[in-house]
Amino acid sequence: MTQILIVAEHDGTKLNPSTARCVTAARQVPDAKVTVAVLAAAPEAIAAEAASLAGVDAVLTVAHPANAQPLAAVLAPQIVALAADYSHVFGPSTSFGKDVMPRVAALLGVSQISDLMAVDGSHQFKRPIYAGNAIVTVVATAGQKVVATVRTASFDAAGPGGSAPVTAASPNVALPTHTRFVSKAEAKSDRPDLQTAAKVVSGGRALASAENFKLVFGLAEKMGAAVGASRAAVDAGYAPNELQVGQTGKIIAPQLYLAIGISGAIQHLTGIKDAKTIVAINKDAEAPIFEVADIGLVGDLFQVVPELEKLLG
């Protein structure tokens, strides 16, 4: 049997939805027993959430004050200790998983499979390279531990309905003190979360100022959508960094992606390839975004967006 350990992502109190997506990926591995590990200062409530996911067979908790913030150097040796009993270790391909999982892989002496997007077998997977312009099939050596980050946009979240047993573990490892958490600046908003929203309204360089970018926020609010942005819009300071969509930003898969004044550079498109419906508003009929758009409108966003907002009532 294949034993898969999933490293849970959480904010100290709640499970991040990326974990439920990892569960779905893990369940696609034939004959897998799926265990979720929650490393936190106080893991109980998070563990209960993980235990209630369908497809989770067991939950492990590691309670330690040093786990209050997700520091890769602190978490990795604990995960490595837990991993002894597992053939596979999965984490989400989010900023959390991308930070900690390669450190785990290195300590285990293996390369990681980054951004796993399809499971072909217990040791065969697909992943994107070149900003998604090629998909490769990767085969891991039998008998080697498989460490992977799961491309969350490729898998639906596992639903409720589980009732896995929760066990406390206390790996006996020395934790480094060379890395210390200082602070966090998180934008608090009532808007839907970009990574999980069903609809996303995204703005590009064409918005031309932070003031104008409010048009995007306004339309998103009217549509009940999350807000995204191109790199150009973030670099110019029209939108905060956590809204960047693309190869080096967030990879998302909403039902609707509405791109406003975004040209459609390769690096941007790789972040939205899995969107169900892509709508593009751009004044340049030749813009590459129209090559991937399901619905395109050539027009000036400064006329189109207010009109759209008005018609939406």
Partner: protein, 250 residues
């Protein structure tokens, strides 16, 4: 004075639209423009700025790659690196092997700060920094958008999914550069001439005595699924109608 080591990878230029070979054995690389990985340029630029503030001495650029990567190392020297080291290896390299080779170089060079790009835009693996830090048993800070040196520590702000996070780490440390850390300088012609005289050592990968485990095999390349052809609408009313048909607005 503090030494900084910077990673430089030779990759397909970010403007190239990479295509899969018809026989699915790889991607088309013949005659394609090659460049320094954009994130590595940012990493080097940060090293240069640290030195310009008087907080570092020597900057060593290191590449694990083919002989042709000397071109990219020359670019790094032209930007301002003092020395370059090429660990020569042809063919595909796994992340763990790259990290082990970088560690071998770091063991010889003993840099206090190592800056790599947060990912290479060819294989998009995003593993080298974390792995190197693990192998060195030193701190890592990935996706840095601001780096400050305070005595024997680094205070680094990093871009994370929820916003920004600031960490303090003891030196030596390994960090990876994100897009907004800085904007790399342009190389000027006189610098290119000067770079020709700077030292560039070539080390054979085999001489490092590292096992190249070959744990992951890429067996097949395919293009991504194409999206179905879309429609163009002529005005906002039509757009709204199309969205309603799909049930995307009420």
């Amino acid at each position: 004075m503090r030494k900084i080591m910077v990673g430089v990878k030779r990759v397909v230029d970010y403007n190239v639209r990479v295509r899969v070979k018809p026989d699915n054995s790889g991607v088309v690389l013949d005659g394609v423009k090659m460049s320094v990985n954009p994130f590595d340029e940012i990493a080097l630029e940060e090293a240069l700025r640290i030195r310009e503030r008087g907080e570092a001495g020597e900057i060593v650029a290191v590449c694990i790659g083919p002989d042709d990567a000397q071109q990219q190392l020359r670019t790094a020297l032209a930007m301002g690196a003092d020395r370059a080291i090429l660990v020569k290896h042809d063919g595909l390299l796994e992340p763990i092997t790259v990290a082990r080779a970088l560690k071998a170089v770091a063991d010889r060079e003993s840099p206090e700060i190592i800056i790599l790009g947060k990912q290479a835009i060819d294989d998009d693996n995003s593993q080298a920094t974390q792995m190197l830090a693990a192998l060195l048993d030193r701190p890592q800070v990935t996706c840095a958008s601001k780096v400050e040196i305070k005595g024997q520590t680094l205070v680094v702000t990093r871009e994370v999914d929820a916003g920004l996070e600031t960490l303090e780490v003891d030196l030596p440390a390994v960090i990876s550069a994100d897009l907004r850390l800085n904007e790399p300088r342009y190389v000027k012609l006189p610098d290119i001439m000067k770079a020709k005289k700077k030292p560039l050592d070539v080390i054979e990968f085999a001489s490092l005595g590292l096992a190249d485990p070959g744990q992951l095999k890429i067996t097949h390349y395919e293009p991504p699924k194409a999206r179905a052809k879309g429609i163009m609408v002529k005005d906002v009313a039509e757009l709204l109608a199309a969205l309603k048909t799909k049930g995307l607005v009420s």
